[in-house]
């Protein structure tokens, strides 16, 4: 067993409680032993199982609370109450939702391939849960601190593409396949800006490990890498298919897109995967750009982390109901013509700044952040000129039909139904 595992405080506590007689535990002062001496592998297995269990259940519990919170807060943004029937302030709504979803009839269409149809939700949820393994939730609170943490996150989120292809194909109807292909085109287009926007963070922290990145944030990287945060925020929204990028679940358009034929708990699992992906994306933003679990002393680091995650989630919810949905060609041109160039500019400028100041202290970081913010505004202005919205001129008003005034009760004089075309 790699002795680096014992840096994880939760792991250390459980493992050394079970097998305190092993050498590395004895050095740190534990001496309770529940298992006989040759069974350290069993202690490792039990500890690993317990930690993974805790993390996954905490993640799923967070989704339940988040769904309620989102519906409530979106209701307030839209000047209405959210759900308020079940429990105080409607807090048990998600539980009621889950019970309803479980009891719905599970339909598998005839043309669908049963085996793949049942497999697709599992493949969708698996990458999202795996990302929870590398995020540091507090001081010494993580599942594993990989040396290649960022790359692991990007690789695992790129696995969601194949599950979308599978889900759309397994439904067996053309609408689902079209929607699935559009969704995959969007997903693979936004992997590149998401990966490249983190290179600036990687250069500043000097390591891909998420724990070391949090340690390197004496000032949070939102100040030093504004372009990186901007691009990562947009790309993460697109990867998790949130509005303004939700082609799939555009409720007013293609029914439910490629999720058309999924009912009951399979749809519930897709739904859960999408919301869990949003929570994981905001946890990543907190870790990489907002300083992770760093905060001031009397409040424990896990509470700081949770508080910052809630702030980022509020921001993402705010984005959801502020902007209209983008068309698929607008989404793709934003990725390839807009965000890609912003990431290249970010890498270039950050590399030059780090070449000038190889080991930045706090004052050098502040100078770098000032330069980066200026570059941020200039480059967004330039790229917005590149992504011109196109020449759209409103069509001239028709003169052969009466024009009805909007939002009044008056009707023009010549209103008459001529019996011609029904328009």
């Amino acid at each position: 067993m790699n002795p680096a595992f014992l840096d994880n405080s939760l792991f250390r506590n459980i493992y050394c409680y079970l097998a305190g007689s092993s050498d590395s535990c004895a050095e740190r002062g534990y001496d309770t032993t529940l298992l006989p001496a040759g069974f350290e592998w069993l202690a490792f297995a039990i500890t690993a199982f317990l930690i993974i269990n805790i993390v996954i259940n905490a993640g799923l519990g967070a989704v339940v609370v988040y769904i309620w919170g989102e519906r409530r807060i979106l209701g307030r943004i839209q000047n209405r109450t959210g759900p308020n029937r079940w429990g105080p302030f409607g807090s048990l709504t998600s539980v009621a939702d889950a019970i309803k979803t479980l009891f719905k009839e599970d339909i598998v269409p005839d043309e669908a391939d049963r085996w793949l149809f049942n497999l697709a939700p599992i493949l969708m949820v698996f990458p999202v849960l795996s990302v929870l393994a590398v995020i540091p939730f507090g001081v010494g609170t993580f599942v594993v601190d990989l040396n290649i943490g960022i790359l692991f996150v990007i690789a695992i989120t790129s696995m969601s593409g194949i599950s979308v292809v599978l889900a759309s194909w397994a439904s067996g109807n053309r609408i689902a396949i079209f929607a699935g292909m559009r969704s995959v085109a969007m997903l693979i287009s936004y992997e590149i800006p998401m990966a490249l926007s983190l290179i600036g963070v990687l250069m500043l922290a000097g390591s891909m490990s998420l724990g070391k990145i949090v340690d390197a944030q004496d000032i949070p990287f939102i100040l030093v890498q504004p372009l990186g945060l901007f691009v990562f925020l947009i790309a993460a929204q697109a990867e998790t298919s949130r509005t303004p990028f939700d082609l799939i679940e555009a409720e007013s358009e293609l029914a439910a897109g490629y999720l058309n034929d999924y009912s009951s708990m399979k749809f519930g699992i897709f739904f859960l995967a999408e919301f869990l992906a949003t929570i994981v994306a905001s946890m990543l933003i907190v870790t990489l750009f907002l300083g992770g679990w760093r905060g001031w002393d009397p409040i424990p680091s896990q509470i700081w982390f949770a508080g910052k995650t809630v702030l980022v989630l509020l921001f993402i919810m705010w984005m959801r109901f502020s902007w209209p949905r983008l068309r698929v060609d607008q989404i793709l041109s934003l990725a390839w013509k807009g965000l890609f160039e912003l990431t290249l500019i970010n890498i270039f400028v950050t590399a030059i700044l780090i070449a000038i100041w190889p080991d930045p202290g706090i004052t050098e970081l502040l100078i770098m952040s000032a330069i980066n913010w200026v570059v941020f505004f200039i480059s967004i202005w330039l790229v917005s000129k590149l992504l011109r919205p196109g020449d759209y001129t409103a069509p001239a008003p028709r003169t052969d039909r009466p024009t009805y005034p909007v939002a009044t009760d008056e009707l023009p004089d010549e209103v008459a139904y001529t019996g011609g075309t029904t328009r």
């Binding site: 002795p3 490792f44 793949l116 990989l146 290649i148 790359l151 790129s158 292809v165 599978l166 194909w169």
Partner: protein, 217 residues
């Protein structure tokens, strides 16, 4: 790599589980008639191979495997299958199935024979013959106390000099690409551009001709 040879039973168990999953998925790929299931099994086998890379201390390669193979190549093949794959009969020919199975079994047998009958401890670059004596069974050394010229001691020296960097092989891949392997790296860039342009040319090559024929007919 003082800690690297300490495999332990959990790593061995994980290796066997990952290999079983990989080989089972590979068998599904080559025998499944329905190509979409074959693509899913292919993606599973890639994930199994990535797990094997993680167990063999090659984390960077494992992550690159997931990113490139599962995240891009599987989707590419799945798109191709969705467009044109299920037209023809995707099954195997009966005659060449037997011959191919014989060829595969022969290949596997020869690999196993070579693997078990070669002495893998022979190394050309060793200058100090006394060091070779410490290398017999070198991949079973479990602790760092085997003498001055053993691998464990070498690993300790590197770790002391670099602050533990050898444990993390991925930080050496970047400099390696720029220093020792710069020529293949730049050639790879050229090759990727050539592949990109070539694929576009092959796909778009005949579209103007087809359009003219449709207009004439």
């Amino acid at each position: 790599m003082s800690g690297a040879f300490d495999s332990g039973p959990i790593a061995t168990l994980a290796f066997f589980v990952a290999s079983a999953m990989t080989i089972a998925s590979a068998i599904i790929v080559v025998t499944q008639r329905d190509l979409v299931r074959a693509v899913v099994a292919l993606a599973m086998s890639f994930v199994g191979v990535a797990a094997i890379y993680f167990i063999l201390n090659a984390e960077f390669i494992g992550v690159v495997q997931v990113l490139v193979y599962v995240g891009a190549i599987s989707i590419l093949i799945a798109f191709a299958v969705m467009f044109i794959g299920d037209l023809a009969n995707a099954g195997t020919l009966s005659q060449s199935r037997l011959v191919s199975a014989v060829a595969g079994v022969l290949m596997l047998a020869s690999i196993i024979f070579v693997a078990y009958n070669t002495d893998w401890t022979a190394i050309d670059e060793v200058d100090d013959p006394d060091a070779v004596a410490g290398l017999v069974g070198h991949y079973e050394v479990t602790d760092g106390s085997a003498g001055e010229n053993s691998i464990a001691a070498a690993g300790d020296e590197i770790e002391d000099a670099r602050g533990g960097a050898l444990v993390d092989g991925s930080s050496h891949i970047g400099p390696a690409l720029i220093r020792e392997f710069v020529l293949p790296f730049e050639t790879l860039g050229l090759l990727l551009i050539a592949a990109l342009i070539g694929a576009l040319v092959v796909i778009r090559g005949r579209q103007e001709d087809d359009a003219q024929e449709d207009d004439a007919a």
